[in-house]
């Protein structure tokens, strides 16, 4: 049986400076391979500049790989084939502020993928958009809104709505949780988990936070200067004490603990 997503020897090099044909190339990602199954959450970790975003962008179709292949359900993914990509892999960006078009209403923006990838009638499209808006916890009235009228949490919800409206199998999120308030962050995590439960979506999550990784990831992929130095189930990576780098990345911050009287707060209903 084929995997949902199989990445084979994917690598990416950049010219360090465009315009100088003879300038040396820099390696952003050295060839790496991994697989992802349906309904899994894969967390990608690593320090700044280790190539996390590059990897996410290649899988999301924003950038093209210099080498290697991506297979989806046993089919090869062609990087410029947007319709194949759209229906299966979608991307959420870090900066919800910039990833929405300031001059289009939310409804129009959500309609866009439907317009280009389905044959739905306008009424059906509208219905689908409304449904999706509700699914991410927003109202049909938001159709008429412009992005600048929404809070950052709502914007991130719209981005998620845009990602799931075509019912993809994989959603790639590049540091999508960083800029959010704690309460909103928890809401969005809940939303993502709910969606996974409902629709069986797999996530590829780029993040810095070991807490989040520990809580929701099924697998962890750790990059160090473009090299994949660990890829396995979460608990296995967490237990792995061989690599100091991995330990540093995952554990240092977990030490600091707060004694918290949990009996009291049991009063709070979920």
């Amino acid at each position: 049986m084929s995997h949902l997503l199989e990445v084979r020897n994917l690598g990416k090099t950049f010219r360090s400076r465009k315009g100088w044909p003879w300038s040396p190339k820099s390696v952003a990602i050295e060839p790496l391979s991994f697989t992802l199954e349906a309904g899994e959450i894969l967390a990608v970790m690593g320090e700044t500049g280790s190539g996390k975003s590059t990897l996410a962008q290649i899988i999301g179709g924003v950038a093209t790989a210099s080498s290697g292949e991506i297979w989806l359900n046993g089919q090869k993914v062609h990087s410029k084939n947007y319709s194949q990509l759209c229906n299966n892999i979608r991307m959420i960006f870090q900066d919800s502020e910039n990833s929405l078009n300031a001059h289009l209403t939310i409804g129009k923006q959500l309609e866009e993928p439907l317009l280009f990838n389905t044959e739905l009638s306008p009424a059906e499209r509208r219905e689908r958009v409304n449904l999706t808006l509700q699914r991410v916890g927003m109202l049909r009235e938001h159709w008429e809104f412009y992005p600048h009228m929404l809070s950052s949490g709502q914007k991130q919800r719209v981005c998620i709505a845009r990602a799931i409206i075509l019912e993809p199998q994989i959603v790639v999120a590049d540091e999508a949780l960083v800029a959010l308030d704690p309460s909103v962050r928890a809401q969005i995590i809940n939303l993502m988990l709910d969606l996974q439960k409902d629709m069986g979506i797999s996530y590829i999550l780029v993040t810095h936070s070991p807490q989040i990784v520990k809580h929701i990831a099924d697998k962890i992929l750790i990059l160090y200067r473009g090299k994949m130095i660990a890829f396995d189930k979460t608990d296995i990576v967490l237990e792995d004490t061989q690599q100091p780098y991995v330990q540093q990345l995952l554990h240092e911050h977990l030490k600091q603990n707060i004694q918290y009287n949990s009996d009291r707060s049991a009063k709070i209903a979920d």
């Binding site: 465009k18 315009g19 759209c86 412009y146 009228m149």
Partner: protein, 297 residues
């Protein structure tokens, strides 16, 4: 929209409406806009409004001062020039050449320049930094100089001047459009739309265009004032629209010979030119300001 808003009880203005709202709030901006619109209207209607033919010479009213001066005559509101031609009619019809023609030229050159600029902006073949730097460098040659070169090649004359200025305005449009589109192109929202599988045309017209509209409108105002200045300066130097045509710059140039006998023939075209350019500049400036205010809020 018959739906009820549950959360927000305000209207939902689009960003462009917001810009307009903050533009509208300033008295000076609106005044300049009204002046400009009135000018354009007057220019469009000038063949109807002009009381006399521009070349009609009234030998009984040579170098008559404007009507508000004691020796003036109400028949000739702004007085007459040294050949006894009605100043008001000449100024009005002159607007066709000094304001109408630049508007036309800017329209044509913006159409051409923006199309090329938009294509260049999204074209990945011109991605080399040095190459685009080079274009930027070459585009820094002023439009007036380019117009002069074209006139040197083609010779003076109405058509050649119009052609020269139109041509010389195009590079600025290419430059501005290309940079604006290029900048937007790398923003996340365009990437997102691209990932939605949008066609290039959709990307350009629906996604990017609204975002660069204010920049382009601003460039339009800049180009318009440049075009007006250029054509007036060329005519003033005698290389533009030639004498009997009542272009404001050439009227100004020929009025110099009688500054003392009929000062109004120099003051009036100059003031008209000045007000027109100032109105355009204020509109452009206010637009920039309104835009900044929207971004800040």
């Amino acid at each position: 929209m018959p739906q009820i808003n549950l959360y927000h009880h305000d209207e939902t203005p689009s960003p462009l409406q917001l810009v307009w709202k903050s533009y509208r709030a300033r008295f000076l901006s609106m005044a300049a806009l009204y002046v400009l619109l009135a000018m354009i209207l007057v220019v469009i209607l000038s063949p109807l409004l002009a009381p006399f033919n521009t070349s009609a010479q009234f030998s009984d009213a040579i170098a008559l001062p404007p009507s508000w001066v004691e020796s003036g005559n109400m028949k000739y509101l702004f007085g007459t020039d040294d050949l006894g031609r009605d100043m008001l009619s000449r100024l009005l019809i002159g607007g066709l050449y000094s304001l109408g023609l630049p508007i036309l030229m800017v329209a044509v050159s913006s159409l051409i320049g923006m199309s090329i600029g938009a294509l260049a902006g999204i074209d990945r073949t011109i991605k080399y930094q040095s190459l685009s730097r080079l274009f930027d460098t070459l585009l820094s040659i002023p439009s007036f100089l380019m117009a002069l070169i074209i006139i040197a090649i083609l010779g003076t004359g109405f058509n050649n001047v119009a052609f020269a200025i139109t041509l010389s305005l195009i590079p600025q449009f290419i430059f501005v459009t290309r940079n604006a589109v290029h900048e937007e192109w790398h923003k996340d929202y365009v990437t997102a739309s691209r990932l939605n599988g949008c066609s290039k045309a959709y990307l350009l017209y629906r996604v990017i265009l609204p975002n660069v509209t204010p920049t382009l409108v601003m460039q339009l105002t800049v180009s318009l004032s440049v075009a007006i200045m250029d054509i007036a300066a060329l005519s003033f130097l005698g290389l533009g629209i030639q004498a009997p045509t009542p272009e404001w710059g050439s009227m100004l140039a020929r009025s110099l010979d009688e500054v003392y006998l009929s000062p109004w023939s120099m003051v009036l075209p100059g003031v008209t030119l000045f007000i027109t350019i100032m109105a355009i500049n204020i509109v452009g400036d206010s637009l920039r300001r309104a835009l900044k205010e929207r971004v800040n809020s």
